[in-house]
């Protein structure tokens, strides 16, 4: 066994690329490949999928990913760990076993970690971090506690080639294999903090290896279309070198690592996970070779006393619709369309909720922050509203489409979508209220 643990990331969100994950496994000897595929809203949507069909509720790409990765991971000595179980880890395990059998991989074992779903144990009086009590909010779709290393270790100890979970803190997916390899105590806060830095850097996939980074002329990324997924070579002291798939596109340097180190981080001295309170403020980032960056210097303090819970609620519908204007006087025609739409929605249909109408090409993403420039010869009106009922959502699409014949001259390119929504809130739960358990399935 090598003195270092090599752990790769082959997905940083639910819809991440697959070909690059296959390349990483084929081109670099990994002990572990982690697929992090579960955002807060992704999980809430998964709960709704499961409610509609009890056999669903796991990552919709699971079978495709397993078909591509199961034939190569065990052969390369790489174990697979993923939160693709989402709202239904057992069904994800069963689906994985089915794929393994199709592929002729008899004997392949899949460990499933259960127990993160806590909607049954939450008290209705549970306070929500956003204000109010759980019982005050209608439309609960699911509640999941963020499990951590402590709950993951028994699943790893099964020796199964594949481990599937539901809600686990993203960095913990990477920290657990390190703890299992190096035998760190669960109160060795310095090591757990060092490992959490590594997990945090890897958990968003290519965001540390050249994705979400390129700014032509300022920050160049070679062969972005062939960007490689990252890996870490971790030492027994928790310090690590971050790299990426050999021969792939992308970039790992002190800048890509620095940007990712503070991605979604608030107080750099107190990054909270179920495992540790990690202090990123003195982390050192050193380039030690081409596309190789060493990270060290994390500090740790005791873990939080409670587990974080994410609660998902039905969120009604988001309606979006657009129509475009181009050529001479396009901005004036788009502005006229905007005022027509506002008047129709308010005065004719009595819609009184928030209605946002952006003029893409003049100002859209930054329209609240900055004023609107006067001119553009290619402008798209983009309207959006949220509604509890589908009929109101449909009304927006109808009114925007009607601008084609009833609005200003030359409008074209109507599109409209209505997408069901979920919302999320957070709560705290004493650790002893979760009852994690592991089931092992065999192909």
């Amino acid at each position: 066994m090598s003195a270092k643990l090599v752990i790769g990331c082959g997905a940083g969100f639910a819809a991440d690329r697959l070909d690059a994950a296959v390349e990483l496994v084929e081109r670099f000897a990994l002990d572990w490949l982690v697929l992090e595929c579960l955002g807060e809203r992704t999980l809430a949507f998964a709960h709704r999928d499961r409610r509609a069909d009890p056999a669903k509720g796991y990552n919709p790409l699971l079978e495709r990913r397993m078909r591509a990765l199961l034939p190569i991971c065990p052969r390369r000595g790489t174990r697979l760990l993923s939160n693709m179980g989402a709202a239904n880890p057992r069904a994800a395990g069963e689906a994985t076993v089915r794929v393994a059998r199709e592929l002729g991989l008899a004997g392949l074992r899949v460990a499933v970690l259960l127990g993160d779903e806590v909607s049954g144990v939450l008290d209705p009086d549970t306070p929500l971090w956003e204000g109010g009590r759980l019982a005050d909010r209608p439309g609960l779709v699911g509640a999941n506690a963020y499990l951590g290393v402590e709950q993951l270790l028994p699943a790893l100890a099964t020796g199964a080639e594949v481990i599937l979970t539901g809600r686990v803190a993203d960095p913990s997916l990477f920290v657990a294999p390190m703890v299992a390899r190096f035998g760190w105590a669960l109160d060795d806060w310095a090591k757990l903090a060092a490992a959490t830095v590594v997990g945090h850097l890897l958990e968003c996939g290519m965001q540390v290896s050249g994705g979400y980074f390129a700014d032509p002329g300022k920050k160049e990324v070679p062969e972005l279309a062939r960007c490689g997924f990252p890996f870490a070579e971790v030492g027994a002291d928790g310090t690590a070198v971050i790299g990426k798939t050999p021969g792939s596109g992308g970039r790992v340097d002190r800048r890509t690592v620095a940007e990712q180190l503070f991605y979604e981080v608030h107080d750099p001295t107190a990054y909270l996970t179920p495992d540790v309170t990690a202090d990123f403020s003195a982390v050192r980032i050193e380039e030690v070779g081409p596309d190789r960056v060493r990270v060290s210097g994390a500090r740790g303090r005791p873990r939080p006393p409670t587990l974080k819970v994410t609660v998902g609620f039905d969120g009604g519908f988001l309606a979006e619709a657009g129509v475009s204007y181009a050529g001479p006087n396009a901005a004036a025609r788009a502005r006229l369309a905007r005022s027509v739409l506002q008047e129709r929605m308010r005065a004719v249909h009595g819609f009184s909720g928030p209605l946002r109408i952006d003029l893409v090409g003049l100002r859209s993403l930054h329209a609240t922050a900055l004023c609107e420039p006067p001119e553009s010869e290619d402008v798209r009106l983009h309207a959006a509203l949220r509604a509890g009922d589908r009929a109101t959502a449909e009304l927006l699409l109808w009114e925007v489409e009607a601008l084609l014949t009833s609005g200003p001259a030359g409008g074209g390119g109507y599109r409209g979508t209505i997408v069901p929504q979920v919302t999320t809130a957070s709560a705290s739960l004493p650790r002893e209220r979760v009852t994690p358990r592991v089931e092992v399935l065999e192909a």
Partner: protein, 114 residues
Amino acid sequence: MSRRLPLHAIAHARAGDKGDTSNVCLFVYDHRHHPALLRAVAPERLRAAFPKLLRGPIRLYELPHLHGVNLVMESALEGGVNASLNLDGHGKSWSFLLLSLEAELEENEPAPAS
């Protein structure tokens, strides 16, 4: 004499979201521009630049050894991805909103390399 230039000329940035709170970390390309970065993104300056967007407290964490800062801006995402009607409900583009701010280089601070 001091010189004015877009912050984008001397710094790079990344934005993240949690609920209605946006965080943007910024780093200078040349460590000698770190003081100019600190001046450009001082919380009171941000609030004055974008009063309709940044409606809550703003905390600035200095990262001197990395020549950067981490800005944490509460009530800065038009309700966040649960509620915002912005096409960019996560505020992913807030990084480049901040990079559009003007920075001012003092006489003893070098011009950017490119």
